[in-house]
């Protein structure tokens, strides 16, 4: 067969290289001899015959090289030789090599690490069956609540009427259970999810052990059942499958364990530790309500159905409900959908993409810097190249050598970078535990392939950029030029300056981004929550309904708790509330004002609801602006007082005294407005919203709230009070677990930690880029300085003032920096739009940030240029001219 023969020829070429080379020599020598013989026969002299034969033949060495190039495998050998040469020539200049490799490693490492994170978190599909068909479903309320949670009743209608979905499931966003201890274990609060029985089927997952929920489990009359997560099962139940069929106590009620999910499964959150059937857990009223938007819904599209079709169908169903209940303004008007992945990633997407873009910029800067270093190196080797070309070295060979050198650099940098990426990813995972899908981040073949691609790209980019300077080189001028050192390498300097301008431009973009994020972070940290945060300790607890079924029991517990905690030495004040400021939105409720005319159909008034004990405002230092706090007798059914926030008054009582008016809210019960208090923020980054405070001991719906946050304020280090406080709770009820023991400062810190992380990381890249750019400026100007030694020497000898020389040199260096700055500012204006979502209290085109960046850059550039410029201006003309 032809190919076997071909392979044989190739193998021969590979293994008998030396023999083949000798034979090629013979062949060519034979040719030349024949030609010489012929020439002699034609009557030429011996020398002439040789000369004419060689002229007809061309350069024998080049012909040999070109011929060898056709020998299939010889290329491998060639590449190995080139790599060896490249490595050797780098070895001779270890300082240059180390700096270049380090810079490359930083760039490739950072980019690879960020790519790994982005790939695992954003690009990788969810680990469910056919994840592309999974949608998260929302109600569309209005443009404020674009992606609103769904109400149980709306979901029921979707389930009944929709045709585009093969499965629809509903679950509660976040539920906490008190898991009672057995056999000496402490009780514990665990995060769970209530879900409809088909949630697992919708996602397409099977339990690792046991069974899934059935429709029979998922109704009010069924026995209580629970499915455990792998982690909880291992940790709490020793990984014994005998737990299946046994009962555990959740909120003081018995639940039968029916299944254990596989280790990789984490939904809806990666902290979800158990699942319970939602129609068994939630009151039927709640699951039929059309206006209580408390749940999350997901759906699996039927094969062939599109997201748009699915959404349209759901929207029609909601619209119809809206029309049927025009008197209730809280029934939504439409539906929205989003791929499930988008919902899971949530807010992590923009910052990650921004950081990836930043690392990309940084890598580009690193490449430009290395390219610039290579160009400078080229300059010193220019003469060598010219001589080699004069001796007949092929231009292609020189280019290849060039590329292999940058290739060696990139490979070394890439290897170091990959190791660095590994370390960075470990660090990232440990610092960003709260980020969605952080547990999926890992290095795999794709990442290694990506790094290899980066290496190749960097090698080609730096190699080609620096090779631009040898292209079309005139041999003679460069030999001449190299012998004298004035006005040398103009083109090369120009190229380096362009590279520098680009580098400076990218640096400016990074600096602007970092500046904006830092300013935004500072705004966040200085934002006033509206209450005292110093030395305030908070902890969560919730009273299980089974043990505290009556409202009076809960009231007694809260009052006993507060009484005892307030008696602790060191405690200034203590209070109990559903949520302290900064902890989150909680829930809201519509209300009407009894003294106002009824609202037009379709309009609504909304307030965030907080349940607080009467001492709340004093304890957290929230000012009472008008009126007073609750009376002490506000208990259970007798409770009929409400306190409102300034924002609520501003919005719903414009130009009116709200005191003594009545709010008709939850259950349409009238609550009398007792006082107006200062605004507080539900989250640091949210502006204050209208808020109403109901007495903690009020009995509505299913009675007094079953849990919330205990806040303790002290005038000294409050963390020392954590243990005594927990001991009091233990004494009151040994079965009651406590969770999230945090100071207010920690709560604020947690909610701003992402902002600080993004800002810090971007700042780090920006500073590194600035250092690289400064080093580049310094390098170019130093080079220019040595190149122009003679010229400057002559100038000074002829009477040029030294400060004139200084100005000349400074101008030379600052010009590319100026061009870069202009480029960067333009880039910044275009680029900051991308991070608008990440900014709080700062506009993307914040003038002060842009000005500050420009000043910093000019200062750094000036400093980088000053030294070489000073050196040039202090030149001794005699010394400089004698160098010739």
């Amino acid at each position: 067969m032809n190919w076997t023969r071909r392979l044989w020829t190739r193998l021969q070429a590979l293994f008998r290289g030396r023999e083949n080379t000798r034979r090629l020599d013979d062949e060519i020598q034979f040719h030349l001899d024949q030609q010489i013989t012929e020439n002699l026969a034609a009557g030429m002299s011996k020398e002439e015959a040789l000369r004419v034969a060689l002229r007809a033949f061309g350069n024998p060495t080049l012909v040999k090289e070109e011929t060898q190039d056709t020998w299939g495998w010889i290329r491998v050998e060639q590449i190995a030789r080139d790599l060896r040469n490249g490595a050797r020539s780098l070895w001779r200049t270890p300082r240059f090599a180390l700096v270049a490799i380090f810079v490359m490693a930083l760039g490739i490492g950072a980019t690879t690490a960020l790519f790994t994170v982005v790939r695992s978190v954003i690009l990788e599909p969810l680990p469910f069956k056919e994840p592309a068909r999974l949608l998260h479903l929302y109600e569309y309320f209005d443009d404020v609540f674009l992606y609103n949670a769904s109400a149980g009743g709306v979901f029921a209608e979707w389930k009944k009427q929709s045709t585009q979905f093969s499965e629809l499931a509903i679950y509660s966003y976040r539920t906490e259970y008190n898991l009672s201890g057995s056999g000496g274990q402490l009780p514990e609060k665990v995060r769970g999810a209530e879900c409809s029985w088909n949630l697992f089927a919708t996602l397409g997952v099977e339990p690792a052990f046991g069974r899934k929920f059935t429709a029979e489990d998922d109704q009010p009359s069924a026995n209580a059942t629970v499915v455990l997560s792998w982690g909880l099962w291992k940790r709490r139940f020793g990984g014994e499958t005998s737990i299946l069929g046994q009962t555990i106590r959740l909120d003081a009620k018995a639940y039968t364990v029916i299944g254990i999910m596989p280790a990789w499964f984490a939904y809806p959150e990666h902290s979800t530790q158990l699942w319970t059937p939602i129609y068994h857990e939630e009151p039927a009223v709640e699951m039929q309500a059309l206006d209580t938007h408390d749940f999350a819904s997901i759906g699996r599209l039927k094969p062939g159905a599109s997201e748009a079709e699915g959404r349209a169908e759901l929207a029609v169903i909601v619209k119809r409900l809206h029309e049927e209940h025009r008197d209730n303004p809280f029934v939504s008007k439409g539906a929205m959908t989003r791929p499930l992945l988008d919902d899971v990633i949530g807010e992590a997407k923009t910052p990650l993409l921004m950081l990836l873009a930043a690392t990309g910029c940084f890598l580009l800067i690193a490449c430009l810097n290395v390219a610039s270093l290579l160009v400078a190196r080229e300059a010193t080797r220019r003469r060598e190249f010219a001589i080699r070309m004069a001796l007949g070295g092929g231009r292609w060979r020189l280019l290849v050598e060039h590329l292999t050198e940058s290739f060696v650099l990139s490979i070394a940098g890439g290897a170091a970078g990959l190791a660095m990426a590994y370390a960075v990813i470990q660090w990232f995972i440990s610092t960003r535990r709260e980020m969605s899908r952080v547990e999926t981040i890992h290095i795999d073949g794709w990442v290694v392939g990506f790094a290899a691609g980066l290496v190749l790209l960097c090698a080609v980019f730096t190699g080609m950029t620096s090779a631009l300077s040898i292209k079309g080189e005139q041999i003679l001028p460069s030999l001449q030029e190299a012998s004298r050192s004035h006005s040398a390498g103009q083109a090369r300097v120009r190229l380096r300056k362009w590279l520098l301008s680009l580098e400076v431009g990218l640096t400016v973009v990074l600096l602007i981004g970092a500046g904006l994020l830092l300013k935004s972070y500072k705004q966040l940290r200085t934002t006033n929550l509206g209450c005292i945060t110093d030395n305030v300790l908070t902890m969560h607890l919730s009273l299980p309904e089974a043990a505290y079924s009556k409202g009076a029991q809960r009231v007694n517990f809260y009052q006993a708790l507060l009484e005892r905690v307030r008696a602790l030495p060191g405690v200034q004040s203590a209070t109990f509330t559903r949520m302290v400021p900064g902890e989150g939105y909680g829930g809201d409720s519509g209300f009407a004002i009894a003294e106002h005319p009824p609202l037009p159909e379709g309009q609504y008034q909304l307030g965030v609801v907080r349940w607080v004990d009467p001492g709340y405002f004093a304890a957290l230092g929230i000012p009472i602006l008008r009126g007073q706090t609750f009376d002490a007798d506000q208990r259970l059914d007798k409770a009929d007082e409400v306190i409102v926030s300034e924002a609520l008054v501003r919005q719903y009582f414009p130009g009116e005294d709200p005191i003594g008016k009545h709010l008709l809210t939850i259950g349409r019960r009238p609550f009398k407005v007792m006082g107006v208090v200062g605004d507080t923020r539900v989250l640091v980054a949210r502006d204050p919203r209208p808020m109403m405070y109901l007495p903690l001991y009020v009995s509505i719906y299913d009675g007094v709230p079953t849990g919330g946050t205990l806040a303790v304020r002290s005038n000294r280090d409050v963390s020392t009070l954590a243990l005594p406080t927990q001991r009091i709770i233990q004494q009151l009820d040994p079965e009651l677990p406590v969770s999230d023991v945090l100071t207010m400062d920690q709560i604020v810190g947690q909610s701003t930690s992402d902002a600080s992380f993004d800002a810090t990381l971007l700042l780090a890249f920006a500073v590194l880029s600035l250092v690289l750019a400064a080093a580049g400026l310094f390098g170019v100007l130093s080079y220019v300085g040595t190149q122009r030694t003679t010229e400057l020497g002559v100038r000074i000898a002829l009477g040029a003032q030294r400060d004139e020389v200084l100005r000349l040199m400074l101008w030379d260096g600052l010009r590319p920096a100026g061009v870069g700055l202009a480029l960067g500012l333009a880039g910044g204006i275009a680029g900051t739009r991308m991070i608008r979502d990440l900014l709080y209290g700062v506009r993307p085109l914040d003038v002060s940030v842009f000005v500050a960046v420009a000043i910093v850059l000019l200062l750094v550039a000036g400093a980088a240029c000053l030294l070489p410029a000073l050196r040039a201006s202090r030149l001794d003309p005699m010394q400089a001219l004698r160098n010739e």
Partner: protein
């Protein structure tokens, strides 16, 4: 190294294949032969001959053997393989079609 009679790109292969189709020849003889037959019109650039020969050999269209030449020295003789003969036919046919077409254009217009 005169340029005027440079061979049309790719035709060198055809000429080589054709030249050695009757009997095995060494490189110098191939160059010489092409020059003679074409009435000195085609000057093979000797420098490009050897890379071409070795490329053809790598493709297994020609094979080489070291034999004594007419002068008694050992020389590398190239001859066609079966695949080479097929290739020659194909390329000759291509060439005929192309040159006929060019002729047609040149003569009618």
């Amino acid at each position: 190294m005169g340029k005027p009679n440079d061979l049309v790109q790719g035709t060198l292969d055809l000429l080589i294949l054709k030249t050695i189709s009757l009997e095995p020849k060494h490189g110098w003889a191939i160059a010489k032969r092409i020059q003679q037959i074409s009435g000195e019109v085609l000057q093979v650039q000797q420098g490009s001959l050897y890379p071409a020969l070795h490329r053809l050999e790598q493709r297994c269209w020609i094979k080489a053997k070291w034999k004594e030449s007419e002068t008694g020295r050992k020389a590398k003789f190239y001859s066609l393989t079966a695949a080479g003969r097929a290739q020659l036919e194909k390329e000759a046919e291509n060439w005929n079609r192309l040159s006929a077409a060019i002729n047609l254009v040149v003569e009618t217009s």
